[in-house]
């Protein structure tokens, strides 16, 4: 009986964490994707301001705490670098370089969640 309880509790623990991970990652990266598209459009139009990038950075700093539980830290750190670099380029009005950084961020926002999504190809 005790062992059955251990099996059930462990399974519940693992499965609930797994479901939570799927939920968090999908939602947060979808939001990151949306925000990055907006930053990309601003950089293309050369209307993007320091405040808008700062706001995006603050949002990311808040969200990435939870993401560190589920995603390898290197991938999160990459987004940190690109966002910080883009912030510097916007400050110096170098919109072309900022655009390049946002493009990399957008690509990461699309690919990272798909590699963690529960799919057969990801299991194998």
């Amino acid at each position: 009986m005790k062992k059955i309880l251990i099996i059930v509790l462990s399974a519940v623990f693992v499965l609930s964490l797994g479901i939570a991970e799927q939920f968090w990652i999908t939602n947060d990266f979808r939001e990151l994707e949306r925000r990055t598209e907006r930053l990309l459009a601003g950089a293309a139009a050369e209307t993007l301001t320091d405040e808008e990038v700062e706001e995006a950075n603050e949002w990311w700093t808040q969200k990435k705490r939870m993401m560190h539980i589920f995603i390898p830290h290197d991938e999160i750190r990459d987004v940190d670098y690109w966002l910080s670099e883009a912030q510097g380029y916007i400050h110096t009005k170098n919109y072309d370089m900022a655009y390049a950084q946002f493009t990399k961020m957008l690509d990461a926002a699309k690919t990272i969640p798909s590699s963690f999504r529960f799919r057969i190809e990801n299991i194998f």
């Binding site: 062992k3 099996i7 462990s10 693992v14 964490l17 797994g18 589920f70 299991i123």
Partner: protein, 306 residues
């Protein structure tokens, strides 16, 4: 997390199957699924511990998955005999009174040397000491000993093994005849009082008795002059019809000598012998194809060589 959970299950099952296919020699006092867990769990624990870029949850989820799998597999093997056979395998009897079961030995990917090693680990140094030898599901080697003591000189037999020669039985005959002669001597004394003509006969009988006593004394002296029996450590001479050349060197014997010994059991080809061992005391264990094993006592005294 779900990906890691399912990946852990797959790797666990694959390792379990591989461990079962590899046979019992890979297992050391554990059931196959326990060994799989032992192999994997340390890596799972150390990698997230030392590698800071990997979330610790990766290790935690995998370890919990192994816990679930361990309990599930243990439960299945406890509840169902069929599942136990699939998961843990079955004990394999490799030595029987009919000798070594080479088919079973091959199924375990083991050689005669491996079997001897396992036997030594269990405290048995010769095949003639073992009635049944069983490899348990956890890789341990269990022995039901033959329980009979070995004898030096002449031919000896162990329970389940055949006997070659018969000097032991001839000794018994001698003893019986001696007792009969003693009884005969007493009767002669009685008749001497009644019939004086039997005195000559009695003298003859006492002379024969003296001669026999002398012979017995000589035998005793010969036995005492023989070297003391050494601790018996068998070497494999023939393994599956092939001579083990290294062992021949150690034992300082050659093929001709082995063939001479085999001729005693009417065997003229080495390839027909599945296994042959010899110990320091010259006791040779031979198992021919399709026959019960035999124990031969030879005059070989190579004990000092190994």
């Amino acid at each position: 997390m779900l990906i890691i959970f399912f990946r852990s299950i797959i790797v666990f099952l694959v390792l379990l199957v591989v461990m079962r296919l590899m046979g019992k020699r890979q297992i050391g006092e554990m059931q196959p699924f326990e060994l799989v867990i032992t192999l994997v769990i340390s890596e799972l624990a150390t990698i997230p511990m030392a590698e800071v870029s990997i979330p610790i949850m990766y290790g935690v989820i995998s370890i919990f998955t192994l816990l679930i799998m361990h309990h599930l597999v243990a439960m299945l093997s406890r509840k169902s005999i069929a599942m136990r056979k699939v998961i843990c395998g079955r004990p394999t009897i490799v030595v029987t009174p009919n000798g070594i079961d080479f088919k079973e030995l091959k199924s375990l990917s083991m050689s005669v040397s491996d079997l001897l090693e396992a036997m030594r680990g269990a405290g048995y140094f010769g095949f003639d000491e073992v009635e049944y030898g069983i490899f348990e599901t956890n890789g341990k080697f269990s022995v039901l000993s033959s329980g009979s003591s070995s004898s030096a000189g002449g031919a000896s037999s162990t329970s389940g093994n055949s006997t070659v020669g018969g000097s032991q039985s001839s000794d018994d005959d001698k003893e019986q005849s001696k007792t009969q002669q003693n009884a005969g001597g007493q009767q002669a004394q009685q008749t001497q009082q009644k019939q004086p003509q039997q005195q000559k006969q009695q003298k003859n009988q006492s002379r024969v008795q003296r001669e026999r006593d002398q012979e017995a004394q000589q035998e005793q002296q010969e036995q005492q002059s023989q070297p003391p029996e050494l601790p018996a450590l068998p070497l494999t001479l023939i393994e599956e019809g092939k001579l083990v050349k290294n062992t021949l060197k150690v034992a300082d014997i050659d093929e001709a000598w082995i063939l001479k010994q085999l001729s005693r059991i009417h065997e003229d080809k080495i390839k027909n012998v599945l296994v042959a061992t010899i110990d320091n005391n010259g006791k040779m264990y031979v198992q021919q194809r399709g026959k019960r094993p035999l124990t031969l006592n030879t005059f070989f005294r190579g004990g000092n060589n190994w």
